[in-house]
């Protein structure tokens, strides 16, 4: 699993966080507390959980209707806002599901907030997908 400290090394990283599927914020790192605080991250985590759920439903439906593969499950979900972006990964959950089906306690989602002017989405995905850091 990409650690929050690794995510904070990404270009333009403002904050990194972990949250449950329900949206509950578990842990965070904040580079610029005057711009983003824990309370904002908490609501952002809830928003990301909602977006991820809807995207997963749409990917499921898309594969069923079109018979195309490779969309489900959604691994990462990115919202590009006006000045900030948030990249969220549920990849560790999917890896664990594959390893131990039926396990009820899944690892958290991880997310990183990036300033758009420096955002490197490929680097964010690569950090989150790094197989060497799988638990």
């Amino acid at each position: 699993m990409a650690t929050l400290d690794e995510l904070m090394k990404l270009p333009g990283a403002m904050a990194a966080f972990e949250f449950r599927g329900s949206g509950e914020l578990l842990e965070q790192r904040i580079a610029y507390p005057e711009r983003i605080n824990e309370s904002t991250l908490d609501l952002l985590a809830h928003m990301c959980a909602a977006n991820m759920c809807i995207a997963t439903m749409q990917a499921r439906g898309w594969e069923k209707v079109t018979h195309m593969k490779g969309f489900y499950p959604i691994q990462e979900c990115t919202l590009i806002g006006f000045d900030w972006s948030v990249v969220v990964s549920g990849l560790d959950r999917e890896r664990l599901k594959d390893k131990d089906r039926g396990k009820t306690s899944l690892p958290p989602f991880t997310g990183v907030v990036l300033a758009n002017e420096k955002a490197d989405y490929e680097a964010a995905f690569a950090t989150m997908e790094n197989p060497e850091s799988t638990p």
Binding site: F71, Q75, C77, I80, G81, N116, Y121
Partner: protein
């Protein structure tokens, strides 16, 4: 030649569609049936509305500027991703795609 066709020339891009503000497909290019392009356009439109609404509420509840209006989104599946900026959406293969370049190009073309 349509301007959005140049997005199709980028590595990993398999399909690109331009849709109206109500989700209706205006034009689409790439390896996909027209019916599926219409579905892709509608899906992109629906996801954008949902994401935009959630970002609006985030901004309202937190008072944090810089989230709205959102420019776009990326959904990354196991081997395929869907990227959108404005009224453009494209479907890309993860293995070949240079996502940063694709997002820059989508942003530029969406302003035309």
């Amino acid at each position: 030649m349509s301007m959005i066709r140049r997005i199709l020339a980028l590595d990993g891009v398999n399909v690109v569609c331009h849709f109206r503000d109500d989700g209706y497909l205006l034009e689409g290019y790439g390896l996909m049936a027209r019916d599926d392009m219409a579905r892709l356009a509608q899906f992109a439109h629906d996801y954008r509305r949902m994401a935009q609404g959630n970002a609006d509420q985030l901004a309202m509840f937190t008072g944090m500027r810089g989230w709205t209006p959102p420019h776009g989104w990326i959904l990354r599946g196991i081997t395929q991703s869907v990227c959108s900026i404005g009224n453009l959406v494209c479907l890309v293969s993860n293995a070949d795609a240079l996502l940063n370049e694709i997002m820059l190009e989508l942003r530029e073309v969406s302003h035309w």
